[in-house]
Subunit: 448 residues, 2 copies
């Protein structure tokens, strides 16, 4: 079988375009409507996607005027979707900066068990002071600090997920012995950010632990991904940038002693579909016409760390923006936006239009054939192992993709036509089930 | 309609009796089997129970040999059960000592929305050093400290749940205004234990917030319950003690300026059912015969804060146990156990037998009529507003209760025969939907 595409449905209320909620078709209550998400999940499953994905940040942005805000917490929503689906993976974003390893490890383990091995964790460090101030801090922790904490968080979480051997439960009713204490391994971790003494109170799960996904593309982010991630979400505006990112990440993974096939690179794409190119462009323009630019300016000023009121809608970005090294928030997104604006000499208004669709992800307007071609090109030319599909409008954008693009990808032999017998999310990604760090491999020499 | 009983199904793997997993009928994998819990939930719904309840502690006890350990995290499991049930309330235990208000408030709000207003929170402060050591502490925080933190936690959580007015979402597509920023109220809380600046990122929920349940019976626990709780779980061994507790809690509630009808007192009962009294006793003995006393001794030594090895199986408890005031763990459970042992002059072995069934809750072995009589007596004589039903063996114990005791309670007019049109958990408890603290009641005078 030829190499297969990995498709992930990135779900977001009425769609990724910030103006999507204003279209007549959109339900303004979609953000809290389980039935809306069940419908999306089943559509993605009909399209034999690998997984669903939900973004997250533990804060409400300053204004709720702009677009649907306030949503169901991702782990909770994906747990409900686990019971409404059979095959599809369930990837929840959760922050290493604002959770504790014991609580979070339990929740992912529980979801992995309930879903029969379909859980994934998009590991993020959470930029922004808004989140920090909801957790007792006055300001955002420094970027390097956040990634240092993330690494220790992962080490602890992996110990917790391995703290039960797979065969720790003996359930010997006659002898009255339920579990084998020798197969329980408390982490006894004492580190810089965390001290965690005891074993998890959830047994080892079908996948061992959730699929580990990472979504930051700064230097620290890539180093972290090379060490831990099994899938990487990334925003790339051009195939050249995407190829460079892909090659960089794979070679970093090799340098970490890992198989480069064991980390899948998934750029985001916002497919704006039409049955003709003109129809697709018209849809793109319709959405752009509904943007309220005032909000876009506020967002940009926040991302660029500029004081409120410093941007002029009809001018280009200021020439004297700081280098990425001085940004403590979302570093790689900062660079992407600045480079996009400079490369295409966009005014702030046009930049907001370009970002409104996908917040920095590639927006591609065209026919199903054109979208399938773009996907195939990136996939076969070393830019992607698959895609994070980010429909501009939901549910219609996902339905269009599944009904019109998926059949083309299947006809080209790039995408499975059914799920088949392998059932865990990690199996779908072609990855082995992780060994337990506390178990000596069979046949390994005893320590002397 | 006469006053109605509130019944709550307290679910626990293979049952509340610690030896239940050893019976031939028990599934040793029940602790991680969603289907097992779905079956229990549907049985309870068939019995028109008010709610399901799951206990919780963020730690694994020292030995997994004794009984099923390691379970699905309650909020995760109840979310999955929300989609498998229609009417029944879903009460999850969560600790105020080892969670942050922002994260926990989000999760309960999400469950309340997903379940259509059926969420409840059993608020606990979590005794024991095992849990503390999983969250960066060396020892259990002092009892008073835990309750002080719990009170501030509640104040913050209530602000977060009220941070969106019910009508904050305007969804004016034409004007491009989704939400009304004037109806969002960031807590801006700065307290002793928490600083939480921003509004919740979940809109106000069907119930406003989850039903607030409390389960500690120490002085601090009762003071907390009188202030915040809408339902109280309690362990009571005699009807006299239960009546005293009931009267005390109701009068404390009045002193807090609250309606005593707005806090429901629910003692636990472990019904060991048989079609004759002899059959019920035989079942009780069968379970007791399967207890492994070594584990019981360890548990007792921990509860009584005694060094390992200090208890003699065939002697009574030592005479010189400390007063409750010196206990930093589970104060009221400590007193209950010591008083039970002294009152009945139990050896440690017999005490373990008595506790093995319900860990301090009343075990009642008898026919369905006898169990219904006991329930009716406590209910009509000022000892209870309902019960926390804790079947010794699951699923069979819940099925016996629903098939044989529930019809008797219904025939006596004490229990609903169907759920009827009121749909939220709080409505089932006969409680009003809470007003939003940030909204001036209609008709209230403007502040001058
Ligand atoms: C597809 C995708 C989804 C993301 N989702 C989130 C998210 O939900 N929450 C979050 O805090 N960061 C998310 N990020 C990561 C932020 O963009 C990231 O924090 C930012 O790039 C900063 O990381 P960096 O500084 O390493 O670049 C996502 C990134 C991508 C590419
Ligand atoms: C029915 C019932 C269920 C309880 N469930 C829990 C629980 O799941 N987790 C917990 O930490 N405490 C739970 N408790 C409360 C503990 O028993 C409580 O922490 C203990 O009584 C200490 O509180 P106190 O010191 O106020 O008495 C429960 C109590 C009752 C009566």
């Amino acid at each position: 079988m030829p190499r297969q595409l990995h498709l992930n449905a990135f779900l977001m209320t009425t769609g990724h375009h910030e103006a999507s909620w204003r279209l007549p078709e959109s339900d303004p209550s979609a953000h809290v409507d389980l039935a809306h998400y069940v419908r999306l999940a089943r559509t993605a499953e009909r399209g034999t996607f690998d997984s669903l994905f939900l973004a997250d940040g533990p804060q409400l942005w300053s204004s709720v005027a702009q677009r649907p805000a306030g949503a169901l917490e991702p782990l909770t929503l994906l747990t409900a979707l686990a019971t409404a689906t059979e095959h599809i993976g369930l990837i929840a974003t959760a922050s290493t900066s604002y959770n504790s390893p014991y609580n979070l490890a339990r929740k992912f383990a529980s979801l992995d068990i309930i879903s029969g091995g379909r859980a994934g964790w998009n590991i993020v460090t959470t930029a922004g002071a808004e989140a920090a101030r909801n957790f007792g801090l006055d300001a955002e922790p420094a970027h390097a600090e956040r990634y240092a904490r993330a690494a220790e968080f992962l080490d602890v979480a992996l110990k917790l997920w391995d703290s039960w051997e797979d065969d720790a439960i003996v359930a010997d009713k006659a002898a009255g012995v339920w579990g084998d204490d020798a197969k329980i391994h408390p982490p006894r971790h004492r580190g810089r950010y965390f001290s965690v003494e005891g074993a998890l109170n959830v047994p080892r799960t079908p996948q061992g632990y959730p699929l580990l996904v990472q979504a930051g593309s700064s230097e620290d982010g890539k180093a972290f991904a090379a060490r831990y991630a099994e899938a990487v979400f990334t925003a790339q505006q051009t195939i050249e940038d995407a190829r460079a990112f892909y090659a960089d990440l794979k070679s970093r993974t090799v340098r970490e002693g890992r198989d480069p096939e064991h980390v899948k690179v998934l750029p985001g794409i916002v497919p704006v579909l039409g049955s003709t190119e003109a129809e697709a462009r018209a849809q793109e323009e319709l959405l752009e016409d509904h943007i309220v630019h005032r909000h876009g300016v506020e967002h940009l000023e926040r991302l660029l760390q500029l004081p409120a009121g410093s941007l002029d809608l009809d001018a280009e970005l200021p020439a004297d923006l700081p280098p990425e090294s001085e940004i403590e928030g979302a570093k790689s997104r900062y660079t992407l936006v600045v480079e996009l604006a400079r490369r295409e000499r966009l005014t702030v208004r046009r930049l907001i239009g370009r970002l409104g669709g996908g917040r920095g992800h590639l927006t591609f307007a065209g026919t199903p054939e054109q979208v399938a071609d773009a996907i195939e090109t990136w996939f076969t030319q070393g830019a992607a192992d698959g895609f994070n599909i980010m429909p501009p409008v939901l549910p219609s954008g996902l339905e269009l993709f599944v009904d019109h693009v998926v059949p083309l990808l299947r006809a080209r032999g790039l995408l499975r036509t059914e799920y088949g017998p392998r059932t865990t999310l990690r199996q779908r990604y072609g990855l082995p089930r992780p060994a337990n760090q506390y178990v000596r491999p069979a046949g390994a020499p005893a320590l002397v």
